[in-house]
């Protein structure tokens, strides 16, 4: 009976221990591994850290947790005299976060030195794109920052989701950090159409082959710019009358006729009794016709030059506004507005 009780107790305790072990979260394993590292229990630390990294799905560590686990694992393996394993852990870390550097207050210089060696031998680029960007006017650009582990040649391209090349943004070496700009236009200069795109960064090895690619999905929506409304035509009330009321024309007629009568009478007035020559009737006729023309002209509404000029200036000003709006609307229709949403970067290929 006692023996059976002992066996039962052992079984229960073992089951409880196994249940407890299963119940540990990756974060708890990570914490346990770090404690073990700090206690210089490197074997336990390595086991706990590897267990923390082994999880997948819901049991997987976050990226920051994986980075933390890998740096401690690398340091642990270093102190276990397993440099290859340490280098492998650091390389995995750099592929996740090429910008990572070990804290020199936590890790001794020899660990940092090994990390540095691994970093210089690893070709990877981290991509930082704003989650939301808008290109609304000429000069606006999407700015993507690239962070390289070490200096190496890279290609940065914009592609359609099906892999068709839209535009090559950069080809050349990348060292520490590099901003890459995109104005939202394809290689031909036309604005990108709405759809799914990919910002792809290819890292090339010393032999020129692509050794690693990072893709950032871009969702582009083209929003046609709102066009401006036409400026309203000047109200009729703003225009001044261009013609005054017509006169009677009598004054013009009298002036012409008075001059004509004077021509008829002049020979008698100047040379009394003289009948005068018939030539003067040409002048009389001209004056009479002029008087009649003046009579007709003055009866018509008379133009007011100042008002005509003011109205012309008003119309020209309105026309200038119309032309300006037409130009602006044409530009807005041609350019539109791009809204670019960037997703999480994905690593397409690893060495």
């Amino acid at each position: 009976m006692n023996r059976a009780a002992v066996v039962l107790t052992v079984v229960v305790l073992a089951a409880a221990a196994a249940q407890a072990a299963r119940a540990q979260t990756p974060a708890e394993r990570l914490a346990r591994g770090i404690r073990a590292y700090q206690d210089l229990d490197y074997d336990s630390a390595a086991a706990a850290l590897r267990a923390a990294l082994a999880g997948s799905g819901r049991a997987a560590l976050s990226d920051s947790g994986r980075v933390s686990a890998l740096v401690y694992l690398g340091a642990t393996e270093f102190f276990r005299d397993r440099r290859d394993s340490a280098s492998a852990a650091f390389r995995r870390l750099l592929l996740i976060d090429p910008r990572y550097r070990p804290d020199q207050l936590v890790f001794p210089p020899e660990v940092s030195s090994l990390f540095q060696d691994v970093r210089l031998g690893t070709r990877a680029v981290a991509v930082s794109a704003p989650p939301l960007a808008q290109i609304t006017a000429a000069g606006d650009q999407l700015v993507v920052w690239l962070y390289a582990t070490s200096y190496h040649p890279i290609d940065v391209t914009i592609q359609r989701a099906n892999g068709a090349l839209v535009r090559t943004l950069y080809q050349g070496g990348a060292g520490d950090s590099l901003p890459v700009l995109w104005d939202g236009r394809a290689a031909g200069g036309a604005p990108a159409e709405s759809g799914h795109y990919v910002l792809r960064v290819d890292s090339r090895g010393s032999d020129g082959r692509v050794v690693r690619s990072v893709a950032v999905p871009l969702e582009i929506a083209t929003l046609r710019g709102d066009t401006l409304a036409w400026p309203p035509e000047p109200a009729d009330s703003l225009f001044k009358p261009e013609h005054g009321a017509g006169g009677t024309g009598v004054r013009a007629l009298i002036t012409g006729l008075a001059a004509a009568v004077t021509v008829i009478a002049l020979p008698s007035l100047v040379a009394g009794g003289s009948s005068g020559s018939g030539d003067r009737f040409a002048v009389v006729g001209a004056l009479g016709v002029a008087g009649f023309l003046g009579f007709q002209n003055q009866r018509r509404p008379q133009p007011i030059p100042e008002n005509i000029a003011a109205n012309l200036a008003l119309r020209l000003n309105w026309q200038r506004q119309v032309d300006s709006v037409r130009t602006e609307n044409a530009a807005r229709r041609a350019n539109g507005r791009l809204v670019i949403r960037a997703g999480a970067a994905r690593i397409l290929e690893t060495p």
């Binding site: 013009a252 004077t262 100047v270 020559s277 004056l287 023309l293």
Partner: protein
């Protein structure tokens, strides 16, 4: 004088511009043709001649004051068979004041000579003129009437000059937005010798084309 001629040439040859506009604001030139009728009557005996004369006139404006000079010369032939053909030369220089926009007063010497074979008749008259302008179509058609009389006169023919008077009326047509204009004028004047020994009447119809002025 040289300066005026230079200004005139400048006004005629330079393309339209501020300088030409400024010159033409102070200067006016016109030239044309007279058709003349000359009648002389003495003691019931008269002679009638007629002919053509060329006329040129220049006016220089400074404010409301202007100086006007004119010269004409022509040849008269007898309308009746007995009169002797002669040349007529006429010149004047008037100082004009325009107290109102429609009224100008002028005064100055007026010289006239009839040159016939063997004799020349010379008249010197100091004249006072009143000139009235009237607009028919503003800026385009103007009518004008002018009357004058000699306040002093002399002639180299016995028994000497008694006096003279005259008048004219006409029309000025201005081209729209142009310094060019044309005028058609009827002119008549009569000079008398003392004791009514003789009267000489000159009638003319003038057509001239001008440039500049106001």
């Amino acid at each position: 004088m040289t300066a005026r001629i230079a200004a005139l040439l400048l006004a005629c040859t330079l393309p339209a511009g501020p300088l030409r506009a400024q010159v033409l604001q102070h200067l006016s030139l016109d030239a044309g043709v007279f058709r003349l009728h000359f009648r002389s009557a003495a003691s019931g005996v008269g002679e009638t001649l007629s002919g053509l004369a060329a006329v040129g006139r220049a006016r220089f404006f400074v404010g409301s004051v202007s100086l006007e000079t004119s010269y004409s010369q022509g040849h008269l032939v007898a309308d009746t068979g007995t009169a002797i053909a002669r040349d007529m030369v006429d010149g004047s220089a008037f100082l004009a004041v325009r107290p109102l926009s429609w009224l100008a007063l002028k005064a100055g010497p007026h010289l006239r000579a009839y040159v016939a074979p063997g004799s020349t008749e010379r008249w010197v008259m100091w004249e006072a003129h009143a000139h009235v302008d009237g607009s028919i179509i503003p800026g385009m058609l103007d009518a004008n009437v002018e009357g004058w009389m000699a306040v002093g006169s002399a002639v180299n023919v016995d028994p000497g000059a008694r006096g003279a008077r005259g008048g004219q009326a006409g029309l000025i047509l201005r081209l729209w937005r142009s310094p060019l204009w044309a005028r058609l004028t009827y002119v008549v004047d009569q000079a008398k010798l003392k004791n009514d020994a003789r009267t000489e009447t000159v009638e003319a119809v003038l057509f001239a084309v001008g440039l500049g002025g106001r």
